[in-house]
């Protein structure tokens, strides 16, 4: 292979490029990014950047020793077209890249609330420019409405509270994160917000966001209540960035469809938020939007691309997904793939305490581990999950935990 084009210059794109070099690829390497910025780290955007604790400069990702990556950077230019058969990428300024190998790592974009286009004071949070704009809007603001109590919405709510901004958090589900963590654990997250003074509105959707009489955004909820705020933040999920691949010849279905090894077509791999692949460990075709996954899948995809070029068989990519979310003084970590109606067993602490570790399970097997302020436990159980953890073992651990608790059996 003489030329590899990495499309996407965020965490996954950068890690793919680094891995290609680390694995001995010495040919031409192009990295395309639609943002004008060098790769940066997104997790602090909803936390330290939003609270003002960190400057935006501090989140730059280390691009490695000077010259080590030896890549041609095409930043501030979006890929608009791919011809998968010809492995030809066209950029929005007309540049054409003919490559032998392509890594697709174009990430995802926030879903917008219908009808909010052009309404002043309505924000989403994905890029550093989004974060800077939102932090600026929160300067001197007294009140915010956060729509969506998922991980981004929850972190934004926490950061607003850290700034002393009053927050109404609106979530159409009966509990925050109910679809991921189930309602019992979701209620723990809701209580956490309430304890920090957030006005949590559950089970109610947004009817409309309009411009109120004062020129500020006005949120009307489905139950008829009206919320006036200086700032509205919408965190209702993301959509994988595949519009540029519409006529590429690649299979698209809520992301770029890859095989179990991350290969999307001959000479083309995908990684990170944009990629969907069958994870055999969970017998599920999944798309994962987490930080650690972007690194892990990108490294795998880069090796896959080189292996294919060398005529070697590809290895299946079968991780146990893992991520964390920092809200207030809580570090929430989840590893695995829980279903909302899985059984739940608490193996350390208790659900209403400051810290706990709980496992999800079904059909005699553990499916996921959740920890709040017990990261080490999550890591140990994650390893056990990878080896296949029997639910009986989890129940034994839960019994031991209950017996050890004050007032336990």
């Amino acid at each position: 292979m003489d030329h590899i084009a990495v499309v996407g210059a965020s965490l996954a794109g950068l890690r793919a490029a680094e891995t290609l070099r680390a694995e001995g690829f010495t040919g031409r390497l192009s990295i395309v990014g639609d943002e004008p910025h060098r790769p940066y780290d997104r997790p602090p955007l909803s936390k330290q950047v939003l609270t003002g604790e960190w400057d935006a400069e501090r989140i730059a990702l280390p691009v490695g020793a000077p010259g080590r990556l030896d890549a041609g950077w095409l930043l501030g230019r979006a890929a608009v077209r791919l011809d998968a058969a010809a492995r030809r990428v066209t950029l929005d300024d007309g540049t054409v890249l003919d490559a032998d190998g392509i890594v697709i790592a174009t990430g995802a974009s926030p879903r917008l609330l219908p009808g909010t286009d052009g309404v002043a004071g309505v924000h989403v949070l994905r890029t550093v420019d989004d974060a800077t704009a939102l932090a600026g809007a929160l300067d001197g603001a007294r009140s915010a409405v956060v729509v969506g109590a998922g991980f981004i919405g929850s972190e934004v709510a926490a950061s607003c509270r850290a700034r002393g901004v009053e927050v109404v958090l609106v979530e159409p589900l009966p509990q925050p994160l109910a679809r991921v963590l189930g309602e019992r654990v979701g209620s723990v997250v809701a209580d956490l917000h309430r304890r920090h003074g957030v006005d949590v509105r559950l089970g109610v959707g947004v009817e409309a966001v309009t411009t109120g009489a004062t020129g500020r955004p006005r949120v009307t909820l489905a139950d008829g209540s009206v919320l006036d705020a200086e700032v509205v933040v919408v965190g209702i999920g993301v959509i994988p960035n595949t519009a540029w691949l519409a006529d590429s010849g690649l299979a698209l279905d809520d992301g770029v469809l890859c095989d179990e090894t991350t290969l999307a077509a001959p000479g083309i791999v995908a990684a990170g938020d944009v990629a969907r692949w069958p994870n055999r460990r969970f017998d599920e075709v999944m798309r994962v939007e987490h930080w650690e996954h972007a690194l892990d899948m990108a490294a795998h995809a880069a090796r896959r691309l080189l292996a294919e070029a060398a005529g070697e068989p590809g290895e299946a990519y079968e991780p146990v997904p893992w991520f964390w979310s920092d809200q207030y003084d809580r570090k929430i970590q989840l590893a695995g793939r829980p279903h909302p109606d899985d059984e739940l067993a608490v193996v350390a602490g208790d659900l209403d305490g400051d810290r706990f570790c709980a496992l999800y399970g079904r059909d005699g097997r553990a499916t996921a581990v959740l920890g709040i302020n017990l990261a080490g436990r999550v890591v140990r159980y994650r390893r056990a999950l990878a080896d296949g953890l029997a639910w009986d073992q989890v129940l034994a651990d839960a019994e031991a935990n209950a017996a050890a608790a004050p007032g336990g059996a």
């Binding site: 964390w324 570090k331 080490g376």
Partner: protein, 63 residues
Amino acid sequence: MRVVVDFDLCESNAVCMGIAPEVFEVRDDDYLYVLQEEPPAELHDRVREAASRCPKQAISLED
């Protein structure tokens, strides 16, 4: 190789522990403990991986 952790940066995400549990351990007090400050050669690759993956860039390696 010598492992140095900047505990002002460390957030106990335990990414390092996931990669090299022989060297890094986050205990129930939620602090990271370095179990081997000078890990043996056979662990160096994984320790380097752990350092490069730390979301806070809190781990540095000295020769």
